[in-house]
Symmetry: C2
Amino acid sequence: MSLPHAILTALLEKPSSGLELTRRFDRSIGYFWSATHQQIYRELGKLEKNAFIRALPTDSPTRGRRKEYEVLPAGRAELERWVGENEQPRALRDTLMLRLRATGVVGVDADFLAELRRHRALHGARLAEYREFQRRDTARGRGTERDRVQALVLQGGVDMELFWVNWLDQAIAELADTPEDAPGPEDDRDRA
Amino acid sequence: MSLPHAILTALLEKPSSGLELTRRFDRSIGYFWSATHQQIYRELGKLEKNAFIRALPTDSPTRGRRKEYEVLPAGRAELERWVGENEQPRALRDTLMLRLRATGVVGVDADFLAELRRHRALHGARLAEYREFQRRDTARGRGTERDRVQALVLQGGVDMELFWVNWLDQAIAELADTPEDAPGPEDDRDRA
DNA sequence: GAAAACATGTAAAAAGTTACATGATTTT
DNA sequence: AAAATCATGTAACTTTTTACATGTTTTC
């Protein structure tokens, strides 16, 4: 149950409307948590019902009209409670690694290599984007605790993309000179 | 929809019962995909209904009795189809990073530093475990395509844990000498 | 023969995804 | 005034998580 807390954090950083939040989830918050606008609107509704946030007063009709939210004291308290929790790192879920493993039994082909290269390009582009954010932030050169924490999270994003780029380069190099289907003696043990 | 394909891969590597699969998901397959036994049993039922796998014949009563499955040709074909697909890297979902970001607005305290150290220890332990797997595999020194692919995936697991260990060390070092709550001039912009 | 471990399974709730619907504002 | 864009929202579905239920085999 992290989405409500991600929203509380974002709203504490800056009161926003649902669509603004959606955009911010595509950027900074989104390095490590994503959400669609449908999720966000649903969650904003729940948070408002629980009196963790409130809509800033506006003209009556709501549909199609911008609606800005701010965090109430109870919401801030809930966020503090959540930050203090102990949680386990959640299990990874990565399809590309799974598909690579599947090629071990059905064979690697040129299409799969192309897929690896496509992912390499995507991660490379994201890495460049994050580094551009870093460049801008450094130029601004601020030193509040919030800035330092945001910089750490961004550094995490950069390092994560570096992991992908480096690993994919290695995987591509290794698989590129595979003779397509050298069967070799098949056997059935799994890694102990 | 990757779980059925993860199961097909695992069963092609070695026909297994549900509980055996669960255990293998805690190890090799689990570097990048996890599943509980409930998920696995449900999915085995669906795969059997779709004639992608079949239970090896045994004595009649099924409840409490070991039931081993193997992949049928249709299942292998489905796995090949899936490996050939193009997919986007799925969005990350990491709670620790989210909580770190939240400390930017509610403040970093000693408890949160302890939580970071706890995660550091967990990732360090997993890293050691994966490296032990690598050591064993290298000792066995095999060279089939399947071995090479499994080694690549395992290397991915190692690199991923290295990312965490390094980033956490950096984060802990940086936050440890924060004077607990130097407020600084608050403002409300988000990263552009 | 009781306890522990092994093994399969069911049910309900929570979270996330996909597709669609609708109103308001701005641009041409 | 039509089209594009901004903005909020609903509905249906799938996936994942959590808690529980039950039977079988092995060990003491």
